[in-house]
Amino acid sequence: MAVQVRGEVLDIRRAGAYHVLSMVAPGIAEHARPGHFVALGVGGDDTSMLLRRAFSIYRTEQRGVYGGTLEIVFSVNGRGTAWLADRVRHDPIDIVGPLGRPFVLPVEPVSCVLIGGGYGAAPLFTLAEKLRDRGCRVDFVLGASSEDRVFGALDGKRISQAIAITTEDGSLGERGRVTDVLPKVIERSDASVLYSCGPMGMLEAVATMAQQYGIHSQCAVEESMACGVGVCMTCVMPVIGDDGQTRMVRSCVEGPVFRGDRVRWSDVGTVPDDCVGSPVWAESGAMSAGESTSTGSASRGAL
């Protein structure tokens, strides 16, 4: 259950190339679980920017002096995020959350590898804490284009059994991409689950690797959204349901976390011909499949 609150900026600080925004978010922080996200209004009351900006939740404090607080991490790449970067302590901020479906946690204390690309790593640290609480082994792989874009290396070191870092320019850790070191980490840790958040290309590579190793993957996607709450239908992706049928599902309410083997990564950005409701599907007269556009919880599964 999401709520909309008028929160307040507590603090904004730089972290390498990124910004970390802390805000008081009563009623949201208390209910957030790893993988949930928030949608922030940007530009103030009379803004010309109508669309909310969605950010995964980095950390929460349930009992601050002022009530629950939460933090997000972002990179300035447009007018909306530039406005956010200009906030100062005590500025009001309109927050909707917690949104989406969080990461599914394993029932058994299995070994997990958490893979983050850039600031996409943000939700993985609270996830790591939850996994550790359940007795899981946690290994981190963090990757980015350069050192200033690797987020949370210290957090990752503190909380994990082992951490591997890759940068494309070699400025920190190994030169290359997360998937270059991932096989070694999976084998070393005898991983059963990969948790991943970052750019689409990275998620696809991680999901593919999980399938090669015959292990689970949970991927948090970053699709662009207008509303974040499930009414605008802009953030859809082709995802396979339990019945084997592909549907265009809303990544805001059925995601952002999907089972890696259920997302049709190479078809993201398209409507596959065999997708329920596609023009080709309609012509083929395929009516047998459940004529629903919802996959329910099918695409998430249990571990």
Binding site: M1, A2, V3, Q4, V5, R6, G7, E8, V24, P26, G41, S48, M49, L50, L51, R52, V65, Y66, G67, H90, D94, V96, E223, S224, A226, C227, V229, G230, V231, C232, M233, T234, C235, V236, M237, R247, M248, V253, V268, G269, T270, V271, C275, V276, G277, S278, P279, W281, A282, M287, E291, S292, T293, S294
Partner: protein, 355 residues
């Protein structure tokens, strides 16, 4: 010791004035004139987290077609100044699933429901209406003949008075007599009054105005269209003056035809603007993406705005802006301060109508 004020916007609002908010959509009477806009509220469930949807005039559901439809590829939206482009392409579950799930939920929840239907042919519209005839408790049917996100732009029925009339006549014939049929019109026409007159002659009980305007954005980094569907529908406050103009023109030509006004309504004053122009009720659309609580907020803001101007009911404000020589409503108490000195605006009205 807290210096922080942490309140939801509604907590610090003053009490609502006593005002008759009853609104009419042809034969359907609604407790207030604030509805959601089709395609901006899904089927109500998601927004029910943020406010009690049964307190709105009605929920207008996303246009449903006969069969499931995947919609267009992504990216499906682009932000524009005070607006957005969308190119969803009528994604939806199809009428059967819609009735079994969405309508069933809305009925259970006790929300008044205006069902928006869309089709690729006159027959599809008629089939949808016939299917809905069997469902009880529908407040009205809104016939979306103006979605710009269809494969063939030539199929936008609302751009052609004859095609539009055929659809409306077919839906009217297939719909229970007591259920009003509203035709949703496109502003992308040379003369919206002639389209409005045609669909009313064909049996429309009322008009929903306006659908989105066809627009386009090119991404200057990729140097390609920003939307996968190339063009999309422009909505949001950016189009409000166009929408108000359409409502004004049609109300002037046919003052007895009920209008559901929409297009960039973000506040109670915006809603009032549409009502003054001639709308009997209004739909809140794109603003919901920005502020999911907006419909309830706008309802309350409208009640205050009406009271501030001396109105005691919504009905007496409908089309008020057309009454050039009445400086204030009959019951006006404090309105003088708000409206200021009455001015002779007759000439202005003519110019506006021609404009």
């Amino acid at each position: 010791m807290t210096r922080m004020r942490l309140t939801t916007p509604r907590d610090d609002a003053p009490p609502l004035p006593t005002i008759d908010m009853t609104a009419d959509l042809a034969s359907a009477e609604l407790p207030n004139p604030i509805l959601t806009a089709s395609g901006c509220a899904a089927a109500g469930k998601e927004l029910d987290q943020f406010f009690d949807i049964t307190t709105l005039g009605a929920i207008v559901t996303k246009s449903v077609m006969a069969r499931p439809r995947s919609g267009r590829a992504t990216p499906r939206m682009a932000e524009t100044p005070s607006g957005m482009l969308n190119s969803i392409g009528l994604q939806g579950p199809g009428i059967d699933s819609f009735i079994d799930n969405d309508l069933a939920w809305l009925r259970e929840r006790g929300a008044r429901t205006v069902v928006s239907i869309a089709g690729g042919s006159v027959e599809e519209y008629a089939r949808l209406a016939a299917r809905l005839r069997l469902v009880e408790g529908i407040t009205a049917i809104e016939v979306n003949i103006s979605c710009p996100n269809v494969e063939s732009r030539g199929q936008v029925f609302a751009c052609d008075p004859i095609a539009a009339s055929e659809v409306i006549a077919a839906v009217r014939r297939s719909t229970m007599p007591g259920v009003p049929v509203f035709a949703k019109l496109s502003p992308d026409v040379t003369d919206i009054v002639s389209i409005a007159e045609a669909v009313v002659a064909a049996g429309a009980d009322g008009l929903s105005m306006i659908n989105t305007l066809l627009g386009m954005v090119i991404d200057t980094d990729t140097m390609r269209p920003a939307l996968a569907g190339v063009t999309g529908g422009l909505s949001g406050p950016a189009i409000r003056p166009v929408a108000v103009r359409c409502v004004w023109q049609v109300h002037q030509a046919m003052p007895d035809v009920p209008i559901l006004g929409m297009g960039g309504i973000k506040s109670g004053l915006d809603a009032l603007e549409f009502i003054l122009a001639g709308a009997s009720a209004v739909s809140v659309g794109t603003t919901v993406f920005h502020d999911p609580s907006a419909p309830a907020r706008i309802r309350d803001e409208l009640a205050r705005a009406l009271a501030d101007r001396g109105f005691t009911s919504v009905r007496e404000a409908v089309g008020f802006a057309h009454r050039g020589h009445e400086p204030q409503p009959a019951h006006a108490g404090p309105a003088e301060d708000v409206l200021g000195e009455p001015v002779d605006i007759e000439g202005g009205l003519e110019a506006g109508a021609e404009g």
